[in-house]
């Protein structure tokens, strides 16, 4: 019997989605490390992880392109559940309750909370910005199609998007660690009923009612 069928477990992420997420994580870390090597002299030694400076220059755009494509597939799959609703803005307004783990004071959360949706938005904008600006500054194949003024702008946009994205991902990683059970959700695919009840109650009601018609809404 697989974990997904355990009585106390609710399925949160399918095997396909988990695979996509972790491919994304690997590609993102590699893109970030190789990109940081080219961004700040103090981090140039990261280029040693990729076989030296020229190899880092060669590999970074291909890694970045891979990361962007995988991310856009993931984003397409999660798009519907991440649209901001009024309750999400209320949730964000109460950020003090959020960071102090006072979830009883917060509006009921569906599949994703306001913070997750905001993160999703930042990641989508940042990744699209990186993809477009990255193509413009990809000297080997594309830069010669663009005027130098646009290449300069794209270089700056690329750096700003990248550091915003890295900060956002640091928040994402910490949030996953902070809310115990989240990493399990993305590794095994399941969460306990208590986890869903505590953190995503509206989602909990939705799926438990759908799964068990006898206890449907009345």
């Amino acid at each position: 019997m697989s974990d997904n069928q355990r009585r106390d477990s609710l399925v949160r992420y399918s095997a396909e989605l988990r695979t996509n997420h972790w491919l994304n994580a690997i590609a993102f870390v590699l893109a970030a490390l190789s990109g940081l090597a080219l961004f700040h002299p103090a981090l140039f030694w990261f280029s040693n992880l990729f076989g030296g400076g020229p190899w880092t220059r060669i590999l970074h755009p291909f890694i970045g392109l891979t990361a962007a494509l995988i991310f856009l597939m993931l984003a397409a799959a999660l798009w519907g559940d991440n649209r901001m609703k009024p309750a999400d803005w209320q949730w964000l307004k109460q950020w003090r309750d959020v960071v102090n783990s006072r979830e009883d004071r917060l509006p009921e959360v569906g599949r994703y909370n306001g913070g997750q949706k905001l993160l999703f938005l930042v990641l989508v904008i940042g990744m699209v910005g990186l993809l477009l600006s990255g193509l413009v500054i990809w000297r080997a194949y594309f830069s010669h199609y663009f005027p130098v003024g646009l290449i300069r702008l794209a270089s700056l946009v690329h750096a700003v998007c990248a550091f915003t994205l890295i900060c956002a991902i640091l928040v994402h990683i910490y949030a996953g660690f902070w809310v115990r059970g989240s990493v399990d959700a993305m590794v095994r695919g399941t969460v306990t009923r208590g986890w869903a009840w505590k953190h995503h109650r509206a989602w909990f009601r939705q799926i438990t009612h759908a799964a068990n018609p006898r206890t449907g809404p009345n």
Partner: protein, 296 residues
């Protein structure tokens, strides 16, 4: 081309000062290109090819004397020919020897992410050390004069070295040696400015009211300077930049954004860590599990 006999004052992608005890007390060097004396013979182009062992591809005729059509990884200097009809209706043939300007504030060096791929010597020469070049092309993005070229063969950036190897042993650059008219002169920057002032005075006395020296302040002055008949209109000379400076985008990208971004990333990680220390993890309790059973 690391040269032990020339002292480095600036090095790309380096945050610490260079060894700076030895300086060029005899003065910084400069090449003066007097466009009013140039006859377009291209001896400088040939001398550059010979000294630096460069042979560009034989291109195609682009309908003028300019050959090759543009600078390349193997053509580090180039006579650009412009035909200008002046307000009197006369044709002026404005010939400008193009190549690296050796800026005092080099945009290429500022943009370069690879430590030591671009250096500036204490005598003012800006040199590429190709063994450290990673081929990213950021120097092309940073240069206000559109000079560096990335080789298709080895993906390294190349440009005029101002014959740093010759200058290091007390010789003048190859192009200077070859010039038959004295349009190219080499010496200390101060001497070249003085020489230019004499040339400008002479030109003014002969009707070129706007004659002047091109030593643009926007890049801190250059170690390759021009005497122009029309110093008020540098763009006449095949698009010479009227007010070159490092782009604000490049300054921001290679200036403030670097420390700000690193600090923001470090701060984000620290905030996470101290949140964990102060608030701890958000865990599901047995009571939550029980409530979930009742609630469903």
């Amino acid at each position: 081309m690391a040269l032990q006999s020339l002292d480095i004052v600036r090095r790309s992608a380096t945050t610490m000062p260079e060894p700076s005890v030895r300086q060029s007390y005899a003065g910084k060097v400069a090449k003066l290109i007097d466009t009013t004396k140039c006859i377009g013979c291209k001896a400088c182009q040939v001398a550059c090819m010979e000294w630096n062992d460069l042979r560009d591809e034989i291109g195609t005729n682009v309908g003028g004397y300019q050959n090759p059509a543009d600078l390349s990884d193997r053509s580090w200097t180039l006579m650009r020919f412009a035909e200008y009809e002046n307000p009197k209706g006369d044709l002026e043939w404005l010939i400008r020897k193009d190549g690296c300007m050796h800026c005092a504030d080099p945009g290429c060096l500022k943009a370069c992410p690879s430590p030591g791929a671009i250096v500036q010597y204490s005598n003012g020469i800006v040199d590429f050390h190709e063994e450290n070049c990673i081929g990213c092309g950021y120097c092309v993005t940073g240069c206000p004069f559109d000079i560096p070229r990335i080789s298709k063969k080895d993906k390294k950036a190349y440009k005029c070295t101002l014959c740093s190897d010759r200058v290091a042993v007390g010789l003048e650059p190859a192009c200077i040696k070859a010039c038959p008219t004295g349009a190219l002169v080499f010496g200390t920057k101060e001497d070249m400015q003085q020489h230019a002032a004499e040339r400008v005075a002479d030109l003014k006395s002969r009707g070129f009211d706007q004659a002047g020296l091109y030593d643009p302040a926007g890049v801190g002055g250059t170690h390759v300077m021009y005497v122009l008949h029309h110093a008020d209109q540098p763009a006449l000379y095949s698009g010479l930049a009227p007010d070159p400076h490092i782009s604000a985008m490049v300054s921001l990208w290679k200036g403030a954004s670097k420390p700000v971004a690193l600090a923001a990333m470090a701060l984000t990680a620290l905030v996470g860590f101290f949140h964990f220390v102060r608030v701890g993890r958000n865990e599901v309790t047995p009571a939550d599990e029980a409530a979930a059973e009742k609630g469903s």
